[in-house]
Assembly symmetry: C2
Homo-oligomer: 262 residues x 2
């Protein structure tokens, strides 16, 4: 069955920031991403697929969603391709409701490790950080400043599906700093002028939740975030490069925190 | 002075793989990348700039290259933009001769740490690995399989200029394996089915050069590379994600090697 022009346009609008904001929904495409969604028990609003383009693995996935009573519509490949953000579609995509990004709503007092990204505007870097955060048992991500949109197709894809397993809050620095004070968080700031991470991170108290803050590649964290930090840490490396890629730096620090506090 | 149509086409061709192969040259644009080139004493064949678009920092850079007797041509902004791979040009770009990528020619017996990338096809990931390699004092990069082209604009940009400081060899697996045997290299393979990196890497011998091998995200290293490995290591993380981003995984392993062998 073909989608009507209006239906098609409605879904296509989710490829844009404006459309996502309006519909409070987002898209994810491809077998691997949707398998991760299923694994994290994220139920799509609807899936769209083209029988002719489905692998065995993709067929199995369609059945799996059908058993969960997800609306599953077979559509012509030509239509599916017009909804895809990538060049090769794998014949399946899904629409999800955007989870809340309200900090107060997402936060749980049991959280011990939270990642803060300030001005991480590259979607590939943000997606990679989400993936590493889930791998290193960070329980939540907070985005401030001019960061990429967490549910844009490129972030979703770069997260390799980890976006389905990690609560993501978006807020202003003011709200964040009040939150840090309220919950007595130990705020660790990544800072190339900071002290050696390998030494500093050993001082992390066990009885305080940790907030690890990573800033933009070109400018680092804002002065107000640095001022609020309990510790400022840098990753030791040779001076032949000025700094590491932001996703790499954040991931290395998360790994160290994971090993020291697990 | 405007470039002639032919001159313009000649430089534009460097934005394509075919053109780079033919001319054995590559492009780098923007102040930061070219400052890194200067810092690593890489002398461009020529620079092109548009006076009106230059910042003070960019003007200083133009003078610096002029003092090195580099051919520096002022061209109209419209022409410069047609040569740029990015949307905002910063008013300056340079043409460099592609260094040799022959393994035998680049290798020095004094090298202690070499990174091997097999099938790293994403240019962003490859550039990021080049940047981390230089940061963690790896002295050379070897590319095998279906890896991205090291001197493509996207790799050059993602390396944040580290490409100017790291010799990059490109070869076939056969040549590489002969090289490993000849130089008695300790070959460490990143492998999600391997043993804990934190334990395994402590066994690295001090008197043997180390080759760290990282494979593609979807398929890992090839069976022949795994078979040739002296040790197979995995980065410990939660099972909530299947694997880390390839650039993150490679960077984490390089950092551990750097700390254990420095």
């Amino acid at each position: 069955v073909s989608l009507t022009k209006t239906e098609l346009k409605d879904i296509q609008s989710l490829l844009t920031k404006k459309g996502r904001k309006l519909k409070k929904s987002f898209l994810a495409e491809g077998v691997r991403l949707l398998e991760e969604a299923a694994r994290h028990r994220m139920r799509p609003e609807a899936i769209y697929y083209s029988e002719s383009a489905l692998s065995e693995r993709a067929k199995f996935l369609v059945e799996r969603f059908q058993k969960l009573a997800v609306s599953a519509e077979p559509i012509p490949l030509r239509q599916l391709e017009s909804l895809a953000d990538t060049e090769s579609t794998q014949g399946i995509l899904a629409v999800f409701k955007e989870p809340s990004t309200a900090l107060a709503e997402l936060y749980r007092p049991a959280y011990r490790r939270i990642l803060l990204c300030e001005h991480i505007s590259d979607p590939g870097n943000l997606g990679t950080l989400i993936r590493s955060a889930l791998a290193f048992e960070f329980e939540m991500l907070i985005l401030t400043g001019n960061s990429a949109e967490p549910y844009s197709p490129k972030v979703v894809r770069s997260s390799a599906g980890a976006i389905f397993g990690l609560p993501v809050a978006v807020c202003e620095n003011g709200e964040l700093l009040a939150f840090v004070t309220l919950h007595r968080m130990f705020l660790v700031a990544a800072d190339i002028a900071g002290q050696a991470a390998s030494v500093q991170l050993r001082q992390i108290p066990r009885d305080q939740p940790l907030l690890l803050a990573v800033g933009s590649e070109s400018h680092g964290l804002s002065p107000e975030m640095l001022a609020a930090a309990t510790a400022r840490v840098r990753i030791e490396h040779a001076t032949s490069v000025e700094s590491l890629n932001a996703a790499v730096a954040g991931s290395i620090l998360m790994k160290e925190v994971y090993e020291l506090t697990k």
